[in-house]
């Protein structure tokens, strides 16, 4: 953003939202008409209109337990997407750059955690368990801090006031460095996340619901709670503290922030370290659902549609965007996926994001940019 740019908040219900509501209303009327048409026999079960517009809703009503389970799975995925998106938002706010390296930071942080734990227990002979896991956690946080300082010193400081595209390319370079460095240190073999050693719950609880059952994984519950707490703390930190205000100043203009005595270097270290903490938590949660390998990097791409929906500059946007994408793609995959042969959720997230873009190009909570000429 240049100095000639002003940032304003939009009214709660702008023209585009009104249009959105009207569109939603029209859609609801359309669905109601289809239901009536089905009831009266105008549309049969084999018609594509029935399969697309009626059958999924009939399934939702027939099997409410599966609907709730799908929404829950979407919610958990959404919270985790939010966490990833948060890493992007923090760095974007501080440096105006899309941090391409956020995905590999997730992998690097998780590998550091597991790698240090293995080193402590296998090489140094420390008893396996919670204490070793805590020490490993502290070690992984230390590595993320060192990484933040190194990024600030080596990558960002020489690039102050350079065009954004230069900064983006620097993070692309950082990504490939971290991939190579991570593979050199930890190897390419997948590792098992130390879930139980960290005290994270395993197992599940079955809840009876509407004649069916809902399976709540304790790990998912913990992930949702930890992510929610993390987001709340970060939200508070960046909204109400001196550093948070400094961060927002930096986001508006590097030059202006420097002129009022804000240390750009300090802010960047704080923000990259925070993004590192977020990456570590994301790595633990996703790693516990599968394994810790370089494949986790792909998960970070999920943040893109989340950022499109929520805006690149808003922490609440990352949360709401994550939940919309998470729940939206799971519902879409579950109820409409079979019509298209399944496996649609990877691109469905972008379709959902594009639909939001049509009504709010700056994202749900993004700042509307007014360029004065």
């Amino acid at each position: 953003m240049t100095d000639a740019t002003l940032t304003t908040r939009k009214p709660v219900l702008g023209e585009s939202q009104r249009n959105g509501l009207i569109a939603g209303g029209v859609l609801a009327l359309f669905i109601a008409a289809l239901v009536v048409a089905t009831q009266t026999g105008t549309i049969t079960r084999n018609d594509w209109t029935y399969k697309i517009f009626v059958d999924p809703f009939v399934s939702m009503v027939d099997m409410p337990d599966l609907l709730v389970q799908t929404v829950w799975e979407g919610f958990v995925a959404g919270v985790l997407y939010s966490l990833i998106a948060l890493g992007f938002v923090l760095i974007f706010k501080a440096s105006g750059v899309f941090n391409f390296a956020q995905g590999i930071m997730v992998v690097f942080a998780a590998l550091s955690l597991v790698g240090i734990y293995e080193f402590l227990t296998l090489t140094l002979g420390m008893p396996a368990g919670f204490v070793a896991a805590l020490v490993a956690m502290a070690g992984a946080l230390g590595i993320m801090f060192v990484l933040a300082v190194a990024v600030e010193r080596i990558v960002l400081r020489p690039l102050v006031n350079q065009p954004d595209i230069i900064m983006l390319m620097a993070t692309v370079g950082l990504t490939y460095f971290l991939i190579g460095f991570g593979e050199y240190i930890f190897g390419g073999s997948p590792k098992v996340m130390i879930t139980s050693q960290l005290g994270l719950p395993t197992g599940s609880t079955m809840l009876d619901f509407a004649g069916g059952r809902i399976n709540i994984q304790h790990l998912d519950l913990a992930a949702a709670i930890i992510a929610a707490v993390m987001i709340a703390v970060l939200g508070f930190f960046f909204q109400y503290t001196r550093i948070g205000r400094a961060l927002r100043a930096v986001a508006d203009s590097h030059k202006a922030a420097l002129s009022v005595g804000i240390s750009l270097n300090q802010i960047w270290v704080i923000v990259w370290f925070t993004a590192g903490i977020v990456a570590l938590l994301t790595g633990i949660m996703w790693g516990a659902r599968s394994d810790v390998s370089f494949a986790l990097e792909i998960i970070a791409l999920k943040a893109l549609p989340v950022l499109i929906v929520g805006g690149f500059t808003s922490i609440p946007g990352a949360i709401v965007g994550g939940l919309i994408i998470g729940v939206g793609e799971k519902i879409g995959e579950f109820y409409w996926g079979p019509l298209l042969g399944g496996g649609i959720e990877s691109w469905l997230a972008y379709i959902i994001a594009l639909m939001f873009l049509m009504f709010r190009p700056q994202g749900l909570f993004g700042d509307k940019i007014i360029e004065r000429i």
């Binding site: 997948p190 496996g343 990877s346």
Partner: protein
């Protein structure tokens, strides 16, 4: 004086230069450039396989001085399971006169099959790649023993029928196939669809896009919604441990989840901990280190610090599969040496060596692997063999054999493969008719 010294220097330089490039005294070697993926999203599956095959050839070099007295110059080409990189590796293998190309990816196999007969480099895609390449008359340069994905589909259904009490008990059942949404994942679908029609079960397919390998919750919800009785896993890389974990998370009986042979890695089951107990996969060779060939690897490679693998991973399922692949390729090179009388063979020679590949039970023993795998034999017409497989089961710490040998329904599969091969040749204009001569096995 100056001129004399210059002339002397030039003369010495020339002599030294000639000595360096002269074949006299240079060690003979056979080049083998092998695709691997030790990095990237599929490294979990790629590393143990690469370690197994690499260690086997290192062992042959250390123990026997190579094959037939010629050292094997084994090189790896990193692909990250990326087809574009794999094709670059084809070019590298070609430029280094590799005697065989091992794609380790169905996508890469499909991309390079049209080049094999032009560049005279055989493709060895062991139990993966284009299933129709089993038809040697159409694909003289491609070999995919010991069985194809189509055979695997047949074995899957026969095993399920055994557990259900007969093929007639399959009627009304729902069998789900979760598959990596890539050429590899889609390979078994034609046979499963045909078997579903014949035996009256419902086939549900659940494709997993590569970007969603570790994000399968909606797939397993769909499995629950469809009341799927059995789940087949055509997966690779990080998709497999996630599938096993999700089966555990959703409470789907693990002993009704059967992976293809590539979903049977120790690292596919291990991350799920106790949740993985009971998980099944297909295989065609044994696990463990209790074979002379593996002991030789430990002695001649691992003990000398020349292996990339951790000692405790030697003998794991995918490691032994790499060794198995190494043994088949080494045998083809031996055959080529025998057929041609040459010590240093070429890709064309090794192609002939594959066509007469015949490893009997006695030969497995000679190779240091008694009862390691079933006999495998190829012919000019049949580049696959459609050999039997069995089911292995994860007990929480290791794989154990859980069924007898199950022979695929060759009578059903072979005509389908021949039809698919014909269709391939027709749809690829100018596909050459086989002109390669056929050697008789001795």
């Amino acid at each position: 004086m100056k001129t004399t010294r210059l002339a002397l220097g030039l003369g010495l330089g020339l002599v030294a230069g000639f000595a360096a490039v002269s074949p006299v005294g240079a060690q003979e070697s056979i080049n083998f450039v092998h695709n691997t993926y030790r990095t990237g999203a599929f490294s979990g599956s790629g590393i143990p396989v690469a370690d197994g095959v690499r260690d086997y050839f290192t062992m042959l070099n250390n123990r026997d001085g190579g094959i037939g007295g010629v050292r094997i110059n084994f090189e790896e080409c990193e692909t990250q399971y990326d087809t574009r990189r794999s094709v670059e590796c084809w070019e590298q293998a070609k430029s280094k006169n590799s005697v065989v190309y091992v794609p380790w990816s169905t996508g890469a196999a499909l991309a390079t099959i049209p080049r094999a007969h032009i560049d005279k480099m055989p493709i060895f895609s062991m139990a993966y790649g284009l299933s129709a390449a089993a038809v040697g008359g159409t694909f003289p340069w491609v070999f995919n023993p010991p069985l194809t994905y189509w055979d695997g589909a047949s074995v899957w259904i026969q095993y399920i029928a055994q557990r259900e009490g007969g093929l007639d008990k399959l009627r009304g059942k729902t069998i789900g196939l979760i598959l990596l949404d890539a050429p590899f994942g889609r390979e078994p679908i034609p046979v499963l669809e045909a078997l579903a029609r014949e035996h009256g079960f419902t086939l549900k397919t659940y494709p997993i896009p590569p970007a969603e390998m570790q994000n399968q919750s909606s797939t397993w919800l769909a499995i629950r919604r469809d009341r799927t009785d059995w789940v087949l896993v055509q997966g690779w890389g990080a998709m497999n441990p996630t599938a096993v974990r999700e089966a555990g998370r959703t409470g789907f009986p693990r002993d009704k989840v059967i992976g293809i042979w590539w979903a049977g890695g120790d690292d596919d089951a291990r991350p799920a901990g106790p949740d993985a107990r009971g998980y099944l996969a297909l295989s065609w060779h044994q696990v463990g280190t209790n074979f002379p060939v593996i002991q030789d690897i430990l002695r001649h490679v691992v003990d000398r610090g020349q292996s990339n693998s951790a000692r405790e991973k030697i003998g794991e399922n995918l490691y032994n599969r790499g060794v198995y692949q190494g043994m088949l390729i080494a045998e083809a090179i031996r055959n080529a040496q025998r057929l041609t009388g040459k010590r240093v063979v070429t890709g064309e020679d090794v192609r002939r060596g594959f066509e007469v590949l015949n490893i009997s039970a006695a030969r497995w023993t000679e190779l240091g692997a008694p009862d390691f795998a079933a006999p495998v034999a190829l012919t000019c017409a049949d580049h696959n063999g459609h050999h039997a497989a069995f089911v292995i089961q994860w007990d929480g710490t290791k794989w154990n054999r859980a069924s007898d040998w199950i022979r695929p329904d060759r009578a059903r599969i072979r005509p389908m493969l021949e039809e698919a091969a014909r269709a391939y040749a027709t749809s690829n204009a100018g596909w050459p008719a086989r002109s390669e001569t056929c050697d008789q096995p001795s």
